[in-house]
């Protein structure tokens, strides 16, 4: 937990420092009053100061109890799989279209998460892709992408 907090603080400090430097590129005060850089500058400065304070406190503190925040191997693989599948779905969303992308995504995700009923997987994949597309496009008038195959 302590090590995780230190890493988080370093990342946050980096974000606030980058925002601070970037905000200096915008005008802080101009003839009309506070400029576009005014609010982000002060926010970044406050954020950076407080993050450094937490970082120093975390580095100096001693962990009395060891809390394992990392998932076990099975959960880590499944969690990683969810993120990879989501990224792949986002990449294929427009070229392949909603229906085909989601058909593959849902079937793959159900299998990966441990579902083994062929009927359950097939039914959910078809309903979640072709069915949901129909509901959104024709009933809710929310357009979803059709891909290169016109599906």
């Amino acid at each position: 937990m302590r090590r995780g907090r230190i890493v988080a603080c370093v990342v946050l400090a980096g974000i606030f420092l980058a925002a601070l430097v970037t905000s200096l590129g915008y005008s802080l005060i101009d003839a009309l009053g506070p400029g576009p850089g005014f609010f982000p500058f002060w926010l970044s400065l406050i954020g950076l100061t407080l993050t450094l304070a937490i970082l120093i406190e975390s580095v100096r503190s001693r962990e009395t109890t060891t809390v394992n925040i990392l998932p076990d191997r099975q959960a880590a693989l499944q969690g990683g799989g969810v993120l990879v599948a989501l990224a792949a779905a986002a990449a294929l969303f427009e070229p392949l279209g909603f229906r085909l992308t989601m058909l593959l995504f849902i079937a793959g995700m159900l299998w990966m998460l441990g579902a083994r009923s062929p009927f359950g997987i097939a039914f959910t994949a078809v309903a979640g892709s072709f069915g949901v597309f129909h509901v959104f496009l024709y009933w809710l008038k929310v357009p979803l992408p059709t891909g290169a195959f016109g599906i």
Binding site: M1, G4, A8, L12, I15, F16, A19, T22, S23, Y26, I29, L32, G33, P34, G35, P36, G37, F38, F39, P40, L43, S44, I46, G47, L50, A53, I54, I69, P71, A75, Q78, G79, V82, L83, L86, A87, A89, A90, A91, F93, E94, M102, F105, I106, M109, L110, L113, G114, A115, G120, T124, G128, V132, F136, L140, K141, V142, P143, L144, P145
Partner: protein
């Protein structure tokens, strides 16, 4: 008289067949969200926003509001039957509700929760009708400095009560405010933090961020949790016995009062009223030792407070434009997507819409009572749905929701990134609520701060020479000092975090 006329017009608008249908669909979806563990009201409301894109603003907001308070109702079922709260505000219901279910009194626990929620929700809605118009009129006299100070109070409250450390809460709020700065500067129209990426010119979408932080992160956490067994309990006897009624009435009355008054304070969040109601009930009870062993008051009081809070929390949003919790912030986002800014001007400019939404709360509460009492067995059966299917359904709606708002794959990427960030924050015990509130309030806070300073020619004395503004700033400071002194109960801070 004016209020009564508006309410009647609102009831007429909310009672059209179309809007009744939207309220019913919202209540059903909301209860479903509450029932399914792992999908809280914030993510649930956010992922269902795309369903309302083609609706008129009144119908859309009626449906989303129904989803919100439906989810507040539905969370009880999982608390009682599997000892897992469907949403954070139902944590306390686990203490006695689960014990009642183990003793074969699960039906009574769910019954008193539904009845208490109905009473709390209805009383809070009636109070909302009385309180909201004068409060909105008062808020009309506020200038930019007062609005800045008011939003600061809300942000301080949610930051102070969000986690175990005030400093981490402030850092998260500042991060949210900073993310809100991405895009076109609202005052001068200049691009900021866009780094030449056209997709960032409209800013970082609120909906993809919320879906990632709550929806995707929750899925990643759910995968790690063990499977919970559903308690087999008798759900035939839903109505409490005469003795149980006698013990519950006081709890329901006190729960209503606590939920309503805490709902008026921006930033309190849904968990605190339930904890306070439980603690008060335990203190006034002649048999406090029975709490935690299946005391019906331990279910009636927090569940009533929860729904009284849910309805009362709409008051700061509708009258002042201040969201009290992340879920209310999502609702505020839905208002903004529909081209409406919640606050006193909405009462003035769109009274038809505001009153139709308020009137729909009353109709929704009746619908939820009907849905919760006779159909509770049906909802309980949904708990046996394999979690894989729930996860995949959630992911599907997250992708649709993130994409369809602006037809942008970039937003889906933002959602995935925020999912990873949300997972990390949860693991490191860093509070997410201040970040979300900062993100939604960021543009409003900045605009009111800069407009105030433009009014005064850059002189900061504008904030302490106006009595109301000074009072609000002192209140914000008092909240922060109170947080440093750890005035809030430790359990509340831990649960909020």
């Amino acid at each position: 008289m004016d209020t009564l006329n508006h309410l009647m017009a609102g009831l007429a608008a909310a009672a059209t067949l179309q809007n009744l249908g939207f309220a019913l669909i919202g209540c059903l979806l909301g209860t479903l969200i509450g029932v399914l563990p792992g999908l809280g009201p914030t993510a649930g409301t956010a992922i269902l926003i795309p369903l309302t894109f083609s609706l008129d603003p009144t119908g859309a907001l009626i449906m989303l509001s129904a989803i919100y308070y439906g989810a507040m109702y539905g969370g009880t079922i999982t608390s009682v039957l599997i000892n897992v709260p469907g949403e954070a505000a139902s944590v306390i219901t686990c203490f006695d509700g689960y014990q009642m279910a183990k003793q074969g009194r699960g039906g009574t626990a769910l019954g008193i929760a539904a009845i208490g929620s109905f009473i709390g929700g209805m009383v809070a809605t009636i109070a909302l009708i009385v309180v909201a118009p004068p409060l909105a009129r008062l808020a009309l006299s506020f200038g930019p400095p007062e609005f800045f100070a008011l939003m600061l109070v809300g942000l301080c409250l949610i930051t102070g009560l969000a986690g175990q450390s005030l400093v981490t809460g402030i850092v998260m709020a500042v991060l949210g405010l900073l993310i809100a700065m991405v895009g076109i500067d609202p005052v001068r129209g200049a691009p900021r933090f866009t780094f030449g990426v056209p997709s960032l010119y409209d800013g970082v979408g609120f909906i993809p961020v919320v879906m990632g932080l709550f929806g995707i992160a929750e899925i990643l956490i759910t995968i790690e949790r063990p499977y919970h067994e559903v308690i087999k309990t008798r759900l035939t006897s839903l109505l409490p016995s005469r003795e149980e009624w006698r013990r519950s009435i006081g709890a329901i009355v006190r729960g209503t009062g606590i939920g309503f008054f805490l709902g008026l304070i921006p930033g309190v969040g849904a968990i605190i009223p339930t904890f306070v109601a439980y603690v008060v009930e335990k203190r006034v009870s002649k048999t406090p030792e029975k709490f935690g062993q299946g005391a019906i008051e331990g279910v009636a009081a927090p569940e009533t407070a929860n729904n009284a809070y849910a309805n009362a929390a709409m008051i700061p949003l509708l009258t002042l434009g201040i969201p009290s919790s992340p879920t209310i912030a999502v609702l505020m986002g839905a208002f903004i997507i529909n081209g409406l800014t919640p606050g006193p001007f909405l009462f003035k400019e769109r009274p038809d819409l505001v009153w139709a939404v308020i009137a729909s709360f009353m109709i929704g509460n009746v619908m939820l009572l009907i849905l919760n009492l006779p159909f509770v067995g049906l909802w309980a059966r949904l708990l046996r749905l394999p979690y894989q299917y729930v996860c995949v359904g959630t992911l599907l709606f997250c992708v649709i929701g993130a994409y369809s708002l602006q037809q942008s794959v970039f937003d889906v990427g933002v959602m995935i990134a925020c999912g990873v960030i949300g997972y990390g924050l949860r693991k490191l015990d860093l509070p997410v609520a201040p970040l979300v509130l900062g993100l939604i309030l960021g543009p409003f806070i900045e605009k009111s701060l800069r407009t105030s300073l433009e009014m005064s020619g850059g002189d900061f004395s504008i904030f302490y020479t106006r009595p109301l503004c000074l009072g609000l700033l002192l209140l914000a400071a008092a909240v922060l000092i109170g947080s440093i002194l750890q005035l809030a109960p430790r359990e509340v801070r831990e649960t909020n975090s």
